[in-house]
Amino acid sequence: MAKKKVSQPDIDFDLTPMIDIIFLLIIFFILAGRITSEITNEMITVPPTRTAHERPDDRRFERVRVEVFGRTQEETRAGVRATGHTISVGTNRWRSSGHEDRDAFIAYIELRRFLDQVYDRAAKYPDPKGTGLQLPYVIIELRADGETEYRVVQEIQQVMSDTIMPEHEGQFMVSRPTQPPRPFVNIEFTTRQDTD
């Protein structure tokens, strides 16, 4: 027969159901949740589409994610206000005013500078369409906020395919005069399933 300590109050409450519940909760969160290891920009709400699919697992291609958000023009009570847009790649973050000042295209220019480095170190293949261009084994994922102007998202695509080069003072050049083009053509637009 077991000895009982006299000093210990004999409140015999059963911990087992509580532990059961807690285990269930933990298992639920492990299975249902997604840990935010992938740092995604909270400022961005990607638009819904129906033909959305998972990122294809193609080992030949390196992936680069380019994020863009912010409206260049925004409506407030006081009227239309210029706010600019932001482009970010990893920890880099560049902001354009999108207006006639010196910083109109600073984000495009910085993005192109970054893409030049990616292009130079990537493996390449000749363009199957026979244009003579060398294309890098890179897929650029363009994660654009649904409210950002079409103009900005389209111009970023042109900066990627190296068919325009922004200059200062709100001007564009059609191509860079001094070097051969460094085009990226493989692109994926980030979206979410309409039924999710």
Partner: protein, 231 residues
Amino acid sequence: MNDDDDEVDADITPMIDIIFLLLIFFLLTTKFIAEEKVIASILPTTKGQAQPQPDDLEPPDDINVLVFPHDPNNPRAFARGAGGVEYFDNLWRQNPATDFATLRVGNADQVYIINGRYLGQREGGEAMVRHVAEVHEYLFQQLSRFETNQTPRSEETPIVLHCFSGMPWKYALLVYDAIRGYEGRVAGHGGRAMTQDDMLTAREVSFAPPRLRQYHEWEHGNELVEIIHMQ
């Protein structure tokens, strides 16, 4: 120690501590957002595509898909640019955000009005799914008119998406999605994810460069009238 004692006196307090820590960790780090997916595309590499070509507003070779604002208070103003350049300039200056977009394929009489509220923040649900399906259906009907059943699909007439430069990106992506949906139904790669290799034999679909080239000229009215009058 008492040898007769068969009660194992396991102290469960540390275990409960650990379990609580785990629970708190998962509670804090878990996010229930829908997983993001992608739509593949391939950018045109033709040199000089950005050059504005005023003489070539309606290239006969391409199917133009047009996306421009819609004003429910004055829908007639957008019918073939009846509002005029100044009207649109002022309108856009006063109200650059729009909740509605007109979708038209070529010179079709029938248009579809996209309600952007369904495409915004996490609202919409059933209504949004239905709306997206309607956009797909509209484009299916319209694009079928131009179908010449080429194989491979890259031989088919290219589609160019002309979107008014100030419209939110969500409209353009939805229309691109609907074009891909049409191609999926016609070419049969429907439910399967398109790889980069598939893109080579896919129909050419591109986003037209904005008609405005300089940011310090806010000639939205001009651009709108040009797009509305495209065929």
